[in-house]
Amino acid sequence: MSPDTVAAPGVKPGTRARARARAARNRRLLVHGSRVLLLVVVVALWEILARAEVIDPFNFSMPSAIWDQIREWAVHGTAQGSLWEQIWYTLYEALLGWVLGVTAGVVLGITLGRIRFLADVLGPYIKVLNAIPRIVLAPVFLIWFGLGPASKVASAVVLVFFPVFFNAFQGAREVDRNLVNNARILGASNRRVTLQVVIPSATSWIFTSLHVSFGFALIGAIVGEYIGATKGLGLLVAASQGTFNAAGVYAAMAILAVVALLTEGLLTFAERRLFRWRPAEAGTER
């Protein structure tokens, strides 16, 4: 037994609190350290095995080659133009598709959630549309809208719309009856009930779908670019694949992952600002 793990009887409360804080800090360090270690081990193994040709570097590439590829793109640009332009294109398509899909999903979801008649009439059709694997629409959109961003935006919209729609619909349906009744008694018109009771209470439902749906928007944009485009990260993947450049495919993937994580972080930040009225979750109390 080490002497500093056992609190001696009659020890001051201050030292005990300090010991607890130290233990918590140590645990955090251990978790973070293990994470980094795991990454280093995996990357190192990949590199070593590829260099030793245990795994085929032509198919699986290696971390150093991927890194070189990213640097090469960043410094000298890609075959389609600068790397930043490709990232911007993909992001632009995904964001535009996301905003349009979210807007349509929220508006329609809330409307159908509030107007029972419309929900009963349109419900089955929406279910049928939702059952179609919507990614197969990407080639159709390419034919309709051409190689430009419009076809990618359209694929992003159809992917984003449904999860947002269903959540907004559910959110509008599950509004606390008491709150609605209270608002009506206090004198709120139907429009006011929708704007000031239904929408605020549905926001937490909607926000859950926003996280997932941004990922969908990126998928829509990338798949659209992959099928046919003049610019974008998806085209980068397709072009690398066409020249059997495995490192290029992985590099584009890595860039995408970073982009997705950054936007996710922004979304979480916005959510925190918007939901100040909600009780903090257990353990994160102010």
Binding site: N181, A183, R184, I185, L186, G187, V197, P200, W277, R278
Partner: protein
């Protein structure tokens, strides 16, 4: 104009039946006859789940009667009237609005200008003792404080008719007594008529001018008792007076029977 002479609320043979999800008809209340005078405080007691709350939703206009008539100030109820205030059993404050904004909601919904609504809301918050909390969100308040917000939000609309559906049942005993006193204080001088639904007989006697005993469901009026305790009352002390205990015994004789019937039914359902 007969609004000055007609009673504040009149139920004439009113009944309400709901269609249950399984398709059968469930009668919540039947053949209700009740008159509430202007400025009168009426408490409605009955066994749990007998349909007391339905009476309130009929008067408020949230639901329509399937039988009979409901009149407010001599006029049949059509939709939600602007003279009605309703305090709900569960929390019905808007969690995404601050305390001040919650109390402003009523006047704002009714088209009062923002500055004026704010002034009115501040005045009522001061009366319920929550001036220091106007920027808080409901989740940062205690249950009693939230109820105060609900009271202020209701009174700020200056309701002529105040409907209360077991408003204090979720509070602990001490807070409940305190809130009851506060309610009497807020109500006195407004001239509003009150219908206060509760399953707590003590509470109903301490608060009301008349106590209406309902039968086991489907509920109807069984008997009405006049409470001749002098006002102003203090809830904590009035219940120790001999007259209070006398009234309590008298009403319990009537109410207890219905409670027993309800209990036996419950037991039969379980068996």
């Amino acid at each position: 104009m007969n609004t000055d002479t007609s009673p504040a609320i009149e139920l004439r043979g009113a009944g309400k039946a709901f269609r249950t999800p399984s398709g059968t008809l469930h009668t919540a209340v039947r053949e209700l006859d009740l008159t509430v005078g202007q400025g009168e405080f009426v408490a409605v007691v009955g066994p749990t789940g007998c349909g007391k709350s339905t009476t309130l939703t009929l008067v408020s206009g949230l639901e329509e009667p399937t039988d009979g008539e409901v009149l407010v100030a001599g006029e049949p109820v059509e939709g939600i009237g602007d003279k009605v205030g309703f305090v709900f059993q569960q929390d019905a404050v808007f969690p995404w609005r601050t305390v001040l904004s919650n109390v402003m909601a009523g006047p704002r919904f009714r088209g009062v200008a923002k500055a004026e609504a704010k002034e009115m809301a501040r005045a009522w918050l001061a009366r319920v003792g929550l001036s220091a909390f106007e920027d808080r969100y409901p989740h940062q308040l205690s249950g009693g404080q939230r109820k105060r917000v609900a009271l202020a939000a209701t009174f700020v609309n200056d309701p002529r008719i105040l409907l209360m559906d077991e408003p204090f049942s979720a509070l602990d005993v001490q807070t409940r007594a305190l809130m009851s006193d506060e309610l009497l204080d807020l109500w006195s001088g407004t001239g509003a008529s009150v219908v206060f639904v509760t399953h707590d007989l003590e509470e109903s006697i301490a608060l009301a001018d008349r106590v209406v005993v309902m039968t086991a469901g489907p509920a109807t009026v069984k008997r009405i008792f006049d409470i001749d305790l002098p006002r102003p009352r203090k809830v904590e002390s009035v219940r120790l007076e001999p007259r209070f205990i006398e009234i309590y015994r008298e009403i319990w004789e009537s109410l207890g029977e219905e409670v027993r019937i309800t209990r036996e039914r419950g037991a039969a359902d379980v068996a």
